[in-house]
Symmetry: C2
Subunit: 283 residues, 2 copies
């Protein structure tokens, strides 16, 4: 398919590269110039990139960036043709997603939100899971692209539900890690053998992919960024905003946000979110 | 071995039964009379039960109950002989455990704390994991009993470290479930397809035994007690107490405690702790 890929960050670049590898005709664009993908054409603006595209795929950092790419100067809306499908893999506000989809609909374009789980490694290996919202027929049309970049897509409902489900997933990651970190702080302080505790965790019902993944880094106290704290912090804020708009409280997540606020103040935003362990330990 | 088993509750009774099955000579005692175990002798007091025992195994509800069994009228301390090993599988305060061990040591008895993970089903099937604290030689001496009732024991350090590690494990269970419950409340409110969300959870890194176990009950809204809320609530209070004594803060767990406090006030203490989902949803 002819795909315009907008946003060549940590996730976007390997995703676009996987589309090229599977034989799709890809045109890429990135806000800061100089980033390219082998085998893809490079465009000077979103407008130029989407001119001839069947599908526009967006992977940028936040709600404001998506809005800019779609409706800013020389944006997607300036160049898109009726019948084009726009897929957004950024993690942004569900409510904004619905608004964006409605605006694009007036131009005859269909919208899909498809944020991902699987992080950088999943993007590189093409093993992402897409958490999708949109009409079933639209999702089917872009199935070859999902399959080029990921191992599966799960439809969570109509437009916006993909983003909502993504926030619900990251909420769980945040609380699982918080539990692991608090358990570790307590166990260390009470003199429990840490190796034995890790063995116990891994043979018990609290074992999860989240903790399996972080455990070796925690053991080495290596908090270099894999999933940077500032991004998880952003997702937590988005989630609490969405909850507030929906009139519900998420007390656990609100508390975790305070831990991230402290980490941020301590200048740890560019470290991995696992560094919140140090913040808790420094009480 | 000749074992006195004290406490025939949800956990204790099947544990004692498994000892009998493996050919050990078991004498049982329970605070409220009338409870027995096929093939075991029944004693009228802890003192009477331990008179001829090589090992005393305790499985009661809380710190006060352990103290009463050990040092109350006609308690263990009134009848125990030097060289006896006392194993406590109750989940109680680590600091109290250390004090109890010291008092028993003066009578020549050795102490092991060995709370369990695996719940009622694990107790019945003999697949418990013992989270043990005590001298290695002492633990080795009771290995046949661990093996009769469980699939493994993990030594977390000296006396008291088993209880400390158990609290650290339950802390994680509490936060994993809180994350799952908050995610569900949010996703429902935002209109996400719940079946799709469950599929997504189970194919992602947030999957854990805790959520795998609770998911079908949550789907049926069946909150009948498997692990009663009041017991998890008690463990959470114990953990926060231990943290306070150690001079550390556990902000996530402190927040979860507030959710349990509300559940308690709403009269839900005898339901499963999974019912906290309803408390969160009623905001």
């Amino acid at each position: 398919m002819r795909v315009a890929f907008l946003g060549l960050g940590i996730m976007g670049r390997p995703m676009a590269a996987n589309l090229v590898k599977k034989g799709h005709a890809v045109t890429v664009w990135n806000r800061s110039t100089g980033k390219t993908v082998d085998g893809a054409r490079t465009a000077g603006s979103p407008k130029e990139a989407v001119a001839n595209a069947e599908v526009v795929w967006i992977c940028v950092s936040d709600t404001a960036a998506v809005e800019q790419v779609l409706f800013g100067e020389d944006g997607v809306a300036d160049g898109i043709k009726p019948g084009t499908i726009v897929v957004d893999s950024s993690t942004i506000a569900p409510a904004a997603t619905v608004r964006f989809a409605e605006r694009l609909k007036k131009q005859g374009a269909e919208f899909v939100d498809a944020p991902v789980t699987g992080s950088k490694i999943g993007a590189e290996n093409g093993t992402l899971i897409f958490i999708a919202g949109g009409r079933e027929e639209t999702l089917e049309k872009v199935r070859p692209l999902f399959e080029a970049m990921g191992k599966q897509f799960v439809r969570m409902g109509d437009v916006g539900k993909g983003e909502a489900a993504k926030l619900a997933m990251n909420l769980q990651i945040a609380l699982i890690y918080e539990g692991f970190a608090e358990a570790l702080v307590l166990a260390r302080k009470l003199g429990v053998d840490q190796k034995a505790l890790f063995t116990l965790i891994q043979s018990s019902m609290v074992r999860s992919g989240v903790v399996d993944y972080k455990m070796p880094f925690v053991e080495k106290e290596d908090f270099s960024a894999n999933f940077p704290l500032r991004l998880m912090h952003k997702d937590i804020r988005l989630t609490l905003e969405a909850a507030r708009e929906a009139g519900i409280e998420l007390p656990g997540l609100a508390t975790v946000k305070q831990v991230y606020d402290r980490a941020d103040k301590a200048g740890l935003s560019d470290m991995d979110y696992a560094v919140t362990l140090s913040v808790l330990a420094s009480d």
